[in-house]
Amino acid sequence: MKDVAKMALILGAVGVVATGILAGVEQATRGPIQEAVRQEILAGLTVVLPPFDNAPDQDTVELAIGDPAGGTRTVYRARIGKEVVGAAFVETAPDGYSGRIDILMGVTAAGVLSGIRVVQHAETPGLGDKIVLDHAWVDFFKGKALGNPDEAHWKVKKDGGIFDQFTGATITPRAVVKAVKHGLDEFQSHRLTILGIHN
């Protein structure tokens, strides 16, 4: 019995020491991690948004946009002077080949895509991950908008649309195209709020 108590104490002590050390490391890395995440967001915003002179990561609105579960997402606003020239938000495609795909999409004030970037996915390396690596494919979205192409062609080529799929991987690009289209629809319905014309 005494042995059991001793073992429990020792194991407990190991746990306590480990917890203490981890708490310290967490404290020490919290700042740098936040900064790294912020830099990552800013870098992403710079890629997808039209040129801006504000800090979009600090000029945000929370809107019911991009989240298939119906929650709210942060919309980052790009401004030149006072005028909102574009906005970016993360649109989630719930139907990737391997779970959800998060796409950061930038839209100009007029509703034209200024760029997209996949920020989180678990697609197959070498197949589905071309949505990240294939820059030509990603850039093809630039300049597209609702009505350009028309509704019927906002699809991958296999489904009769204008967007390329990849050899051996159709599900991933299909999910991305669908999500981006959906994001544009959502942008349209929130456009005035995003542009700050009315709240």
Partner: protein
């Protein structure tokens, strides 16, 4: 065990008792992250840091931990180091962490690490244990690099992201999918066996002049 020499720790850790090639341990990270050479090396190095730290600490506390609760105690030590590595990578090599992030926590259940703690670190001095961590870690990294490189070259036609065959090469996509890991590993293990057999044959051949005798007889 206490007096195992550093050179034999090195030889065993890196090759003779290589976690992957000889013991077939750590298959989970091995199969999951080795789709490219770079991922393989990064995962290997992360595992090495955990191995060194866990081995060192396990050895430090080896006299205080009762036999009955040693496994949970080792797991706590290993899990703590993994968490430290995870947080540190997230903070300072954020991009790499994004690629490997999912698999870093899996280092906890890499039995190669618990195996070293149990079989070696818990029975030897901290310095030897840490050195064993370095060598086992290097061996593991080497194995992951070889597998990652083979899969990347065949599966994507690149090495460290640089194209090597030019545009005409049609990548064998299967090699970077999970089955490719098993197939590549099978061939690599076969290769390792051949190397080991050759070395063994040489070692046996040397000290015996008998063979030379036979050769002379034959030529005569």
């Amino acid at each position: 065990m206490e007096d195992k020499s550093y050179s034999s720790i090195a030889a065993d850790g890196f090759w003779n008792n290589n976690a992957v090639f000889a013991q077939l341990l750590g298959m989970c990270p091995l199969l999951a992250v080795t789709s490219t050479a770079e991922n393989g090396i990064a995962m290997g190095l992360a595992s090495m840091v955990v191995l060194i730290g866990a081995n060192f600490v396990v050895s430090l506390i080896r006299h205080w931990i009762p036999r009955e609760v040693r496994i949970p105690a080792y797991i706590v030590v290993i899990a703590s180091f993994v968490t430290v590595v995870d947080l540190t990578m997230n903070a300072y090599v954020h991009d790499l962490h994004k690629t490997l992030g999912l698999f870093i926590p899996l280092i906890v259940v890499n039995c190669a690490i618990l195996g070293r703690a149990e079989a070696f670190a818990s029975k030897t001095t901290p310095a030897r244990a840490a050195f064993d961590g370095v060598m086992t870690g290097l061996g593991f990294t080497f194995a992951l690099f070889v597998l990652g490189a083979v899969r990347e070259v065949i599966g994507m036609g690149t090495i460290f992201g640089v194209s090597i065959f030019g545009g005409d090469y049609i990548p064998v996509l299967m090699m970077i999918l999970p089955p490719g890991a098993f197939i590549a590993l099978g061939f690599i293990l076969a290769g390792v066996r051949i190397i080991n057999d050759r070395r063994e044959a040489k070692r046996q051949a040397k000290p015996h002049p008998v063979e030379n005798l036979q050769v002379q007889e034959a030529s005569a």
